[in-house]
Amino acid sequence: MRFGIVVFPGSNCDADCYHVIDQVLGQPVEYIWHQEKSVRGFDALIIPGGFSYGDYLRTGAIARFSPVMQEVIEFAHRGGLVIGICNGFQILLEAGLLPGAMLRNDSLQFRCGPVNLRVKTRDSAFTRCFEPDEVITLPIAHGEGNYYCDDETLKELIEFDQIALTYCDERGEETPLSNPNGSTANIAGILNRGRNVLGMMPHPERMAEKLLGGEDGLRVFASMLRCFEEGCS
């Protein structure tokens, strides 16, 4: 399974994702510079975290105008697997591949550290290696991860089972205290209607090796691989 990692000026988790795909998952992977005009030959695309274009103006707002983003959008529309992590999630929102918007954390501070997450659906290319409603641990690291959508959108997200991950306590309860940034309905990750695009604020690539504290994150990428091998996309 060939992964492509889209690199913008200011991306800084590109090498981390590369390491996991290449060294841990053991799959072919290549960087895609933001000025590329084709994403042919890739089976999945990763939009990594970082500060694309310095996050000036608004997180992800400038990156979506990069030449490669039109290709990413078409790739997604054709059913290709796309995962946006942290800043990548913000870019997918700005590009209209996922609904809603991102606000500053309600603490008004950058937040780094482990969070508990509840896997809300197994029915996606990214979550099939998890148990239903399993509680997992992944790190977050963001200043603007406060997911916002209007009531109508939230209703649809719930109705179509598009909420992939929520912030929760260790027992899986989605409490206000376990919400690190003020996100609507404790949302940490959402899918598109077609279930082939995932945006998530936590960093699965940072929790993909025992040496770094756990492998919950690896299972996100392993899910994508299993999906590919089972011929889901």
Partner: protein, 736 residues
């Protein structure tokens, strides 16, 4: 303003001005005078500290680069090396805390990638006035945000640090930033003499009017007028720095640069002079070719601007085009602003006009050196002679422990480090709060690198020689507690006005103490920075604060050790000779309001034996946890290991000799508490004996409470969850 003596306004003395006139053979013009002023500032010229820095041991089998370059370098085997340095940004942060701190990070990061290394870790050492004051809280929160925002954007993890609060720092906070980079030894970029005729490329950000005379500003005492110095503070753009970093590393990978010099203090003046001075060259530059951010800048402003995120590159022959292509790919400008000459003169042109001509060596080598007057200040004897036996030994030890856990200097720094991305690059194996030092793995090897920064400035105030030794020893011990062998030191010497004999004496003593400890521990000092004139508005020097940054190496990173107690029944062993001294302790300051007393003795040779033992134990996998005893003493050390492990302990210290408050809260050095499996106890004790380190079983891991018993009497009995809430919440409460 002194219109008749413009040099005074620029921070030069009458005598220095006379020297300049003598060197030049005429009166310098304003541009030339400005260039001298910044290059001869304390910040750039080290004119007060240079005679003292020679005490430091700077070489060793692993040292590939000692002081004198942008950063020090040590070999870590397998063709790899660590490049590291710490630097201050104190004065800018006092005036504009967010930008001051942010650009402090930017500057130290450039020092590292200038040498061809990819930055892999950031650390910081911070000092503020107490948090019960609005202004101090403002400075603290803005400095932390500035450090975080800059490092986070760059994608360099901020993995360790220290924060202390003391009234002496109220007007003059200390902001020291350290960066560690990884480089292949055959890709180390050292600045070399540019060949005559070689062009000089200025790359990165455009030049603006920010930071003019920043280096001069950093070399004087802060005053009520310092507020007007705000324009001397630079403004940072981490996105630009990220692009510059990637572009410069690409340049080095392709071996396109003969030399690179970042533009830091003294801006273009310093970087051009440094580039030309190697090999005795000169340089000519045209300020009109410098890309500007603002119209109408004078040659004086262009030469002295400290605009951030700029780099001067001397290309290899014929490489200009390829270099420009790489910078263009990253959306950066690379302008040819001049070239290397053979006449030893730095000539500043404005088009066809000569704006200034100065001998390069006069700027870089002829800066005057001052052997300042040194004398022991009166307070030293008075503090040392304080009668510790007048302090009541008895007390409510439960209450004291709880209060110590809530002291902002000692409590958890989670409020700080959760604002730093400490995991990006996916190497951080021990994260902040896990252990006495952060540990990073080196991808593609089994190796790990441990990093720490340390200084107890109260010790340095009471006894600068011993305090200096203790700073080095504690840093080394912190690394050893994680299983890493201490390799080398960088330091940031923060002191007051060196023209005061008492301050100079503090600096001299601290340096000698650090040098002695570094020699015994085989940890040479390979880079550093000096920050002087750190004083309050009342003219009082800050506590002497020689911050030690240290790097260490683990051959097998899977053997790293953290400080959290693990399993019920594990045995607690006190390693190192027990010392009950309460002199200079946090306990004495907190409970008795006394910052005085003779410090507990320290013997670097003994420290060295403890370190060797810890390394052997870690390598053989005998340590389930290890935590050094420092501020707050044994009781505090145990509490932290309980809290981070989420488990209790029962400890009996009946066998230890000394006054009870000293046994619990004394800060005698060269000690650590390890937890080991029951089956390993005998082996560990044997190994300790062989290593000539006193070791005694003091208790076991058990339950959910921390209990300390002496002679059948319970001294401390506390619920770990409650201790945890105090320790974790202290700073958060103060800041909300």
């Amino acid at each position: 303003m002194n219109a008749g003596k413009p040099w005074q306004e620029m921070g030069l003395t009458d005598d220095e001005y006379r020297q300049i006139v003598e060197i030049m053979g005429r009166e310098p013009n304003r541009v030339e005078l400005g260039m001298f002023a910044v290059m001869w500032s304390e910040h750039c010229g080290y004119k007060s500290s240079r005679p003292l820095l020679k005490y430091f041991p700077t070489s060793g089998p692993r040292v590939l680069q000692g002081p004198g370059e942008n950063a020090g370098i040590v070999d870590i085997g397998d063709g790899q090396a660590l490049v590291f340095k710490i630097e201050s940004h104190n004065h800018p942060s006092a005036i504009e805390p967010y930008q001051g701190a942010a650009t402090g990070v930017g500057g130290i990061v450039r020092d590292i990638f200038t040498m061809g290394a990819r930055p892999i870790a950031l650390l910081n050492s911070l000092r503020f006035g107490p948090l019960d004051d609005d202004w101090n809280r403002y400075l603290f929160s803005k400095v932390v945000a500035g450090i975080g925002d800059y490092g986070n954007c760059l994608g360099i993890p901020t993995v360790a640090g220290e924060v202390y609060f003391h009234p002496s720092y109220k007007d003059n906070p200390l902001v020291n930033a350290m960066c560690v980079g990884l480089v292949a030894t055959d890709e180390i970029a050292r600045a070399v003499a540019g060949e005559v005729g070689r062009p000089l490329l200025l790359v990165g950000a455009r030049t603006g009017r920010d930071g003019i005379h920043g280096a001069t500003f950093a070399s004087e005492e802060l005053s009520a007028e310092s507020e007007t110095r705000r324009p001397a503070v630079q403004v940072g753009d981490p996105f630009m720095e990220k692009l510059l970093l990637e572009a410069c590393l690409e340049l080095i990978k392709e071996d396109l640069a003969a030399g690179m010099q970042d533009l830091g203090a003294a801006g273009l003046t310093s970087s051009v002079a440094e580039s030309a001075s190697r090999g005795g060259r000169g340089a000519v530059i045209d300020v009109l070719k410098v890309p500007r951010r603002e119209a109408g800048m004078t040659p004086y402003e262009v030469m002295l601007s400290e605009s951030q995120e700029r780099m001067l590159v001397v290309p290899r022959e014929g490489a200009v085009k390829r270099i420009q292509e790489i910078f263009e790919k990253w959306g950066l400008e690379a302008a040819v602003i001049g070239h290397i000459t053979d006449d030893g003169i730095l000539r500043v042109m404005e088009g066809e006009e000569i704006a200034g001509e100065v001998p390069v060596k006069a700027l870089t080598d002829l800066c005057p050196v001052y052997h300042r007057e040194s004398s022991q200040p009166d307070y030293i004897a008075e503090k040392k002679n304080f009668d510790l036996s007048s302090i009541a030994e008895a007390g409510d030890y439960n209450r004291i422990l709880r209060e110590l856990l809530g002291i902002h200097s000692l409590s958890s720094k989670e409020w700080v480090y959760r604002q730093y991305d400490y995991q990006v690059q996916t190497n951080t194996v021990l994260v902040p709060g896990d252990a006495d030092a952060a540990v990073l793995r080196i991808k593609g090897t089994t190796k790990g690198v441990a990093v720490t920064v340390d200084c107890n400035s109260r010790y340095c105030y009471l006894d600068p020689y011993q305090g200096g030794m203790m700073a080095v020893c504690e840093a080394a011990r912190n690394l050893a507690c994680t299983g890493a062998r201490p390799l080398a030191v960088t330091n940031c010497l923060n002191f007051g006005n060196p023209e005061k004999p008492g301050v100079y004496w503090q600096m001299e003593q601290a340096i000698k103490g650090m040098a002695e400890a570094a020699r015994v521990l085989n940890t040479p000092i390979v880079s550093g920075n000096v920050s002087l004139y750190n004083e309050t508005r009342g003219g009082e020097a800050v506590l002497p604060t020689p911050v030690v940054g240290m790097v260490g190496l683990l051959p097998d990173v899977t053997r790293r050790v953290d400080m959290a107690l693990k399993n019920e029944g594990d045995v607690l062993i006190l390693l190192g000779e027990n010392r009950d001294g309460i002199g200079g302790s946090e306990y004495l300051a907190l409970v008795h309001g006394v910052e005085a007393g003779t410090l507990p003795e320290i013997d670097p040779a003994q420290e060295s034996r403890l370190i060797e033992l810890l390394l052997t134990l870690a390598e053989r996998g005998k340590l389930k946890s290890c935590h050094d005893i420092s501020e707050g003493g044994l009781a505090f050390c145990l509490a932290e290991s309980c809290i981070t492990g989420g488990i209790g302990a029962v400890v009996d210290i009946t066998g230890l000799r000394g006054r009870l408050d000293g046994l619990l809260f004394g800060e005698g050095p060269s000690r650590a508490v390890a937890s080991v499996s029951r089956s390993d106890v005998d082996t560990v004790l044997e190994m300790a004996e062989k290593g000539q380190v006193p070791a005694v079983v003091i208790g076991r891991v058990e339950g959910k409470r921390l209990r300390l018993v002496y002679g059948g009497r319970t001294l401390i009995d506390q619920d770990v969850n409650e201790l945890s809430a105090i320790w974790r919440g202290a700073i958060t409460w103060a800041m909300s």
